[in-house]
Symmetry: C2
Subunit: 351 residues, 2 copies
C-alpha cells in the first residue's frame, strides 16, 4: 500500500481519471467512489435532488427498482414507469409520462438491466427527455460501459454510473461517476443530505489528485491495469467483441432449443437471460452447472426466480468460454431431462 | 473473483464475521461495508438518529470533527465539545455537557484520534454517559481496534466502527460496524435517510451470508488472511505488541530531544505525533524522509500543518521498523539543521 495523500497515489489517480474520461466519452470529470455500484447510484441521486422533487424512474427489472428505491429513501416523489421484466423501456411511454408530469426534475434509467438481460435504448430515451423536459438524465451504466456503446456527451447524459467489477475487469469495490455541467448546477441547490457520497467534496479533492476519505488503493492499481488492457484493445474493438460474444451466446443457446428472455433488438451483449424449459428446476440447473461443470451462472431474481438463468459475458471473456458454457448447459439439461441435448454440442467439455 | 451470491462467498463471509466478533469482544453482529472508514461513520450516524435529534460530538481533532460534520450533514442538532488538538477528551467535561443538555440522544467520540496521536479514555467516557443519560455511545475505533483495547460489550458501547487498512493489516476499502441491541432499537425509529448504508438491510442479508450490494470480494479474502494472522498472534499479544512499539517510538523520539504532542497518559500506541523543532519546516522534513530514507510519515493536519509529523505504527510493524524511522528522523533533522543529531542514533540507516 502507498500513502493516499502522497505523490505516488496522486500520479496513479490522475492517470486513471484521464483514461476513464475517454471510456465515458466525456469532457466531464469522472469521480471514483470506494463503494459498489449501488453507492454510485446513491451518489447520483443525492447530489442532484432535494426531498420532494418529482423523479421519473424508468424501470424494467431489479436494478431499475433499486435506483427508484434509493431516490424514494431520500424523499424524492418517485413516479415509477414500469415495464414487464424481460422487456425494454419504451421511449414513447417515457414521453407520455413527461407530458403528464411537467414538474419532473430528474429521470432515472438503467442502461443494461442485469436482472433480465435487457439493454435499453438510452439514445432514444435521452432525445425524448430533452424534447419534452428540462429534466436531468441519470444513467445506471454499471453493467454496460465500456462494453456497450454509451457516449455520454454526444447523447447528452447528465450522470453516468459505472462499477469496477463489470467490463473494467477488476474486483468489485469502486464505482465511477461522471457528472455533467448541468448536473453540477443542480448539485449547487440540491438539498438531499450527503456526506460520504458528496460529489462536490470528491471534485474538490480530485483537483488535488486526492479523495475525501481513504480510497481502496489496491483497486486503484487494478483499475489502472484494467484501463491499460482496454486501451490496448481499443474501445471500439471492446464494444465489437462484446457484440460478437453476445450474439454467439444467444445463437448457441437458441441452437439448444432454448429461448432468450428479451427480444433480439434489446438483448444485452454483456448478460444473456435464458428461459428455463418447462419441467426443469432453474435452481437445480444452476447448481449442476456450478458443481459438475465449474460454470457459474446467475439464477432469476424476484419474479423470475427459477424461470431463467443468466450467463454473464462481459470483461475478460472469449468465444471459447461461451462455447464451454453452452456445452455445459446442453449436458446438464440432457441429464436433467434424461434425454439427448436438443441441439448440437459446442466446444469441449466444461472447464 | 467468486460469485458473491454463491456458496464460496457465503462460507468466507460467515467465517470472517465470527472472527470479527471475537476481536470486537462482542456478542453483537459485526457488519461489513464496502466503503472506507468514513462510510462506517456515516452508517453509524444515519442508522440510529433522526433529523433534529440532539447529539453530543466529543472532538479533539480532525476525525472527531469529521464524525460531527457527518451528523450535522444529516440534520442532527450537534453540540460540539471540543478539546484542543493534542489533548484528550475530559470525561468530566462530557458529564457537564450531558447534564446541561438532558435531551442528548447520542454521543459521538473518537477512540484513537489519528490526526493528533491521542487515545481517548473510552471506558471512563462510557461510564459517564451511562451514569448521566440514556444516550447511545458511538465510537470511531478506525485506527484503534484490534491494536488498542476496546471491549465493546464490557464497556457498553453501542456502535463501534473499524477500518480495514488499519490494524487489520489489509488494504483500505472495508469498514466494519458492530451494533448493540440498544442501537438496533434506536434504528427501528431512526428517520435519517439511508440506502447504501442501511444497516438493517445489511443485517437481514448477513443472516443469509450475503451483502445487500456487491461486496469488495478481494478485500474479504484479504480480511480472512489478516484475521488468521491476528488469531495466530493472539489478541492480547497484538495489543501488548502495539503498546511496546508505541513506547519504543516515543522513547526513541524523545532521545532525539523531540517532544511528543500529547501527554504520555493519552499518547496513542498506533500513531505518534511529534512536535517539529523551531526553525525546521515540517513539510521539508516529511519530503526528505520520503525521498532520502524511503520513510513515509504523515504531516500535521489542519491547525497542526507544518508543526508536527505523525509516525504510524499499527498492524504489521516491528521494533526494527521503529528504530529505522527514528534513525531517519535523526539524520534528516541533522541535515536540515546543519548539525549533529541531538540524541544517539538508533539502528541502521533508513531502509
Amino acid at each position: 500500500m502507498i500513502d493516499h495523500r502522497g505523490p505516488e497515489f496522486a500520479a496513479l489517480f490522475r492517470g486513471i481519471r484521464a483514461k476513464l474520461k475517454a471510456f465515458f466519452q466525456t469532457q466531464n470529470e469522472v469521480l471514483i467512489l470506494t463503494a459498489s455500484g449501488t453507492g454510485g447510484l446513491e451518489a447520483a441521486v443525492v447530489n442532484v435532488l432535494s426531498p420532494g422533487n418529482r423523479v421519473l424512474a424508468v424501470t424494467c427489472g431489479y436494478f431499475g427498482d433499486r435506483f427508484a428505491d434509493c431516490a424514494k429513501s431520500y424523499g424524492a416523489e418517485v413516479i415509477r414507469l414500469e415495464f414487464p421484466w424481460g422487456t425494454a423501456a419504451d421511449p414513447e411511454a417515457v414521453e407520455r409520462e413527461l407530458k403528464k408530469w411537467p414538474d419532473i426534475r430528474t429521470v432515472l434509467v438503467t442502461h443494461n438491466e442485469t436482472s433480465t438481460g435487457v439493454t435499453n435504448d438510452i439514445k432514444a430515451i435521452s432525445q425524448v427527455v430533452k424534447a419534452n423536459s428540462q429534466a436531468l438524465l441519470l444513467v445506471d451504466a454499471i453493467s454496460s460501459i465500456p462494453a456497450i456503446e454509451l457516449p455520454m456527451d454526444q447523447w447528452g447524459l447528465d450522470v453516468v454510473i459505472a462499477g469496477s467489477q463489470k467490463a473494467w475487469m477488476i474486483p468489485p469495490g469502486l464505482s465511477m461517476v461522471a457528472v455533467s455541467q448541468r448536473a453540477w448546477e443542480a448539485n449547487a441547490v440540491a438539498k438531499m443530505p450527503r456526506f460520504y457520497f458528496d460529489l462536490k467534496a470528491h471534485l474538490t479533492m480530485a483537483q488535488k489528485d486526492q479523495t475525501p476519505a481513504t480510497p481502496a488503493v489496491s483497486l486503484f492499481y487494478a483499475l489502472e491495469t484494467g484501463l491499460d488492457l482496454l486501451e490496448q484493445e481499443g474501445h471500439s474493438n471492446v464494444i465489437a467483441r462484446h457484440r460478437r460474444i453476445g450474439q454467439l451466446c444467444r445463437q448457441g443457446v437458441r441452437e439448444l432449443g432454448l429461448e432468450i428472455l428479451p427480444d433480439e433488438a434489446h438483448a444485452s451483449n454483456t448478460v444473456t437471460a435464458v428461459k428455463i424449459p418447462a419441467g426443469v428446476d432453474g435452481g437445480v440447473l444452476v447448481k449442476m452447472l456450478r458443481e459438475e461443470h465449474k460454470v457459474v451462472v446467475g439464477g432469476g431474481p424476484g419474479p423470475l426466480h427459477g424461470k431463467i438463468i443468466r450467463i454473464g459475458h462481459l470483461g475478460f471473456v472469449s468465444e471459447q468460454d461461451i462455447a464451454e458454457v453452452v456445452d455445459a448447459i446442453a449436458k446438464s439439461l440432457s441429464k436433467l431431462r434424461g434425454s439427448v441435448p436438443a441441439g448440437p454440442s459446442k466446444g469441449r467439455a466444461g472447464r
